[in-house]
Amino acid sequence: MTNVDQFESVFRSADKPVFQPADVELATVLVVSDLAPEAAERFTGAVRRFLHGLDDPAITWETLDGGRFASQGELLEQVERIAPQLVCSYRNLHSDGWRWPHSLGEYLDVLTQVGPSPVLVCPHPEEMEPDTFADFGTDRVMAVTDHLAGDDRLVNWAVKIAEDDGHLLLTHIEDQRDYERMIDVISKIPALDTDAARRTIMPQLLKEPRDYIRSCREQLERAGARVVVEEVVTMGHRLGDYERLVKEHRVDVLVLNTRDDDQLAMHGHAYPLVVELRALPMLLL
């Protein structure tokens, strides 16, 4: 190693994001549905059972039934007034769009992108009885991202909703197609050694999330968090592999980032998951 760049690479590689555990403040949870008041309260009860891992009597649970908003503006006004730290709802509010599983519905689109709070998306009551998903509990929480390293907020939320002694699966899937495309480009540049790239890039891509997960495990143990951290770091095709992993690990709830600072729409990698995995509760940050 005789040049500056080589040593800089070594030092940059040694510079790892350290997970900082932080308590997620949760004073008010708002449950939004398009149901009649009584059914809406039952739905809230189901959500509370599902989230019994929160286990905090100080949390105020508010219910917003279908009669209290008729437009996106009205919903946002209600959310702004109640100022919850978490909103729970489901897809295709005030719509029969749930019959055609190709969208989130306009209300959820706005809640996830405009509202300030994370949104827990539950299965639609017409697709799954609320009591059914309530029984899932949050024993197996999977935090998913394509850029896990340094995402403390994602992990802290996942820890927050996990039951005591539950399993926290920290998942990072590196897109195989992106990787192959990168190698293909490198193979066409004479100045770059393709074999060296093939040998070194993939391990480095997978090393960074692994290092971060190790830090999460150490810091959570140190903080006395009652979760078992499991690592799932692999190459793959995101949607298909997440579907497989959810089944393999019998996941109860997914936690994922959906906001993208560069665009108004939902994060491109999150959208297909949120649209297609309809039977699985998801916490969207």
């Binding site: 005789t2 500056v4 040593f7 800089e8 070594v10 030092f11 510079d15 790892k16």
Partner: protein
Amino acid sequence: MPPTTLLLASGGGHEVGLSITLVFTAVLLGLIACLALEEKIHAKKSIIAGVFAIVALMMGIVFHVLPGTAEVHVFAETLTIPIYIPAIDWGVIAIILGSSIFVDVTSKSGLFTWIAIKLTKASGGDPVRLLWFYGLMTVVFSAVLNNVTAMIIVGSLTGVSLRKLGRESQLLGFLLVEGLLTNIGGLLTLISSVPNIIVGTAAGISFVEFFVAAAPYVVVGTVVTIFMGARLFGIVKLGSDEERAEAAALVSGFDENDGIESRGFFVFGAVMLVAFILVIATTSVLPFVSELGMGYVALTFAVIMLARFKSSVDTFYRALDWDLLGFFAALFIVINVMEHAQVLTLIGHGLEFIIDLGDTLGTGLILIAAAAFSSVTDNIPLAAMLAKILGALGKPSDSALWWSVVFGANLGGNLTPIGSASTLVAVTIMHKQGLRISFAGFVVKALPYALVQIALATLYVLLVLA
């Protein structure tokens, strides 16, 4: 014009006309000028020196100042070899080649990055402690490895760590101080810099003698430089507990074990580094080894380390600084031709005039002149030329004049960005980090440090070593 007496290492001699000597002097001056303008003419040192070596050799044959071949006697056998082969100081080349490979392979063990990151974490991210730790590390690495490698390791870590700490505004101060300290650390041992190797070898100074003589100055020079750096660049301690906690949390993210691919090789590298220093330090007193010299030791350790990578040693061969090695070889040839052409004798007469000014004035002037000369061109030809001249003048190894050359040649590199390879590396890293610093800008910033260092060195040589 009366002919001047030729000085030859072997003690033999023949006569050369002064006009011919002056022609060769012009060639030498041309080489020095081209090396000084290396950046302007966009040519590597090895090519510049190589061209002058070829021209000088041909001129030497044409003007009959040297033979085309030399005879080497090995017991009863006599070997006839081209004159440019014994012209090269292969002992020096072997030391540089061997230690370069040794350091390069050892760095693969992760040892140096481990030390660097450990110190970063120990600083807790406090800028003043970081400056002291990095400064001391630069000096030690320059002394044990070489000043270019030291600057590369510490400079690249400085860029990464200060950015992590959000202290990019202090990058210039850190990198400048580190660059200047490489040449202080380069004074510590006989193998720390090329001028040391050349002058020390020519003077017959042992590794231990060199260390004992240079160490007190290195300690003082280091402390003064770091202290000045902190003051002039306004590098102060963190003020509050929150700042300290935040900085400590940031540097705690560095993993010193990340660069260690094999724990066994890491330990082996550490053991071999200690062994290398010990054997080099005691080469002059070790039976059998003393006959083969430090070059043999350096090459032996290089080969032992390379054995770990026996199937991929070509990677390390490619990483060698062939420009530097080619430059040395060509330079030795030029110096040898100049020696035969009486150019060194001519310069020696000038030098004698300075030396005759007295122990104090003469020795001091040699140091200052060497520093001034080294600041504008490579200090290696200067060291090689002065070493030859002092040797020919019969100066004993305990003469303070040798130390004037050593201190002047090393510290002169701190006056300008082109004064030494390590300050050039420091400037390269500054540019890489987006810091725009011109030649004049560097001189303005470095001048106070360099003047203090040279003044301290002059006092030290005159009061302690003379």
